[in-house]
């Protein structure tokens, strides 16, 4: 493995934030033609397009920062499973509507705090991407919070299922606040965000909404990790990139 320096750390960092957007954006896009109503379908597709748009900007920047002439498609379509460093939370399957809303809520609460800080990065490009993305994820947070409140404080069945979604996905939230070596290196220059410092605010934000939704915050804090640090994914990940990369692998260099 090549030794970490400030250049490849920046590439890794930008790509890793992009991976989050691409993978959760892809998951959202899987709801296309399957959402409970046309309104919800549009809402999820809007979120998906925001997130994939963020990935495009970050991959483009990762390519520029690396100086090897890599383009956004190289990152999205020509890397293997272990090269992706998205959060596990982004890749777990959509499940039912409750699972999808809870995942989007957990991720958006994190994204809101994360992009608020990234907008203050000493790296001008990351700061600009952070500021633009912040507006998008603020809406995602609003949308998913309102839905979670209605599911939790809705019918007996919606409450039970929303609580199950929270309990099931909780184990993936610990990874949100872990730092990679690249992040620690870039933090010295104020480029990266110290995500460990976001945990308290995230807990506060989440418990506030769960409280309104009459749902409970799980007490088991055992956390699954491995993707962000080492590219060790869930069993579901391979299927995502098989689907996503099919065209580019089958017809290399294909453009449309």
């Amino acid at each position: 493995m090549t030794e970490l320096n400030k250049v490849n750390a920046l590439v890794q960092y930008a790509a890793q934030i992009g991976d989050n957007g691409l993978i959760i954006g892809h998951r959202m896009s899987e709801w296309c033609f399957r959402a409970p109503s046309i309104e919800m379908e549009m809402a999820l597709m809007n979120c998906a397009l925001d997130l994939i748009g963020q990935a495009r900007e970050l991959y483009t920047y990762a390519g520029e920062a690396g100086g090897e002439g890599k383009k956004e498609d190289d990152f999205a379509y020509l890397r293997d499973e272990q090269d992706f460093r998205n959060l596990l939370l982004a890749e777990v399957p959509n499940g039912d509507w409750g699972d999808t809303i809870v995942r989007l809520f957990f991720m958006s609460a994190y994204n809101k705090l994360f992009f608020t800080e990234l907008a203050k990065s000493t790296d001008a490009e990351l700061a600009a991407i952070g500021a633009k993305s912040l507006k998008e994820v603020t809406y995602h947070l609003r949308f998913s919070s309102e839905w979670l409140i209605r599911l939790g404080d809705g019918t007996e069945e919606s409450h039970r299922r929303a609580q199950k979604s929270i309990d099931d996905l909780w184990a993936y939230t610990g990874e949100l606040f872990t730092m990679t070596d690249a992040e620690n290196l870039l933090l010295e220059d104020g480029i990266s965000v110290d995500v460990t410092a976001l945990k308290a605010d995230w807990d506060e934000l989440v418990s506030q909404i769960l409280d309104q939704a009459t749902l409970s915050v799980p007490t088991n804090n055992w956390a699954q990790s491995g993707s962000k640090s080492d590219g060790r994914h869930t069993e579901y990940f391979g299927y995502i990139i098989t689907d996503m990369q099919y065209l580019q692998r089958r017809y290399p260099g294909c453009e449309w």
């Binding site: 109503s37 046309i38 309104e39 919800m40 549009m42 809007n46 809705g154 019918t155």
Partner: protein, 99 residues
Amino acid sequence: MTKQTTEKEWPLWEVFIRSKAGLDHKHCGSVHASDAEIALESARDVYTRRSEGISIWVVPSNAITASKPEDKESLFEPADDKIYRHPTFYDIPKGAGKM
């Protein structure tokens, strides 16, 4: 939320969008939603994707009282021959320019 929604179908909401400051909100369509807040978000997601608006109103469709199509003749035709109600009989001074 204190009141649980038990109806199977979400109620219908009419959506009004203001395209820019100074203009009126215009009716642009409707959405189904469980309540006003969700209706507002759905309206945003369905009707402002191409920068159509800067402000949204949603109104419960059942709050709108509408005239009946079959009353058209008695309601609107009497106005057809009252051309004097249009201010078209005045000579506009040249200096006033286009009105």
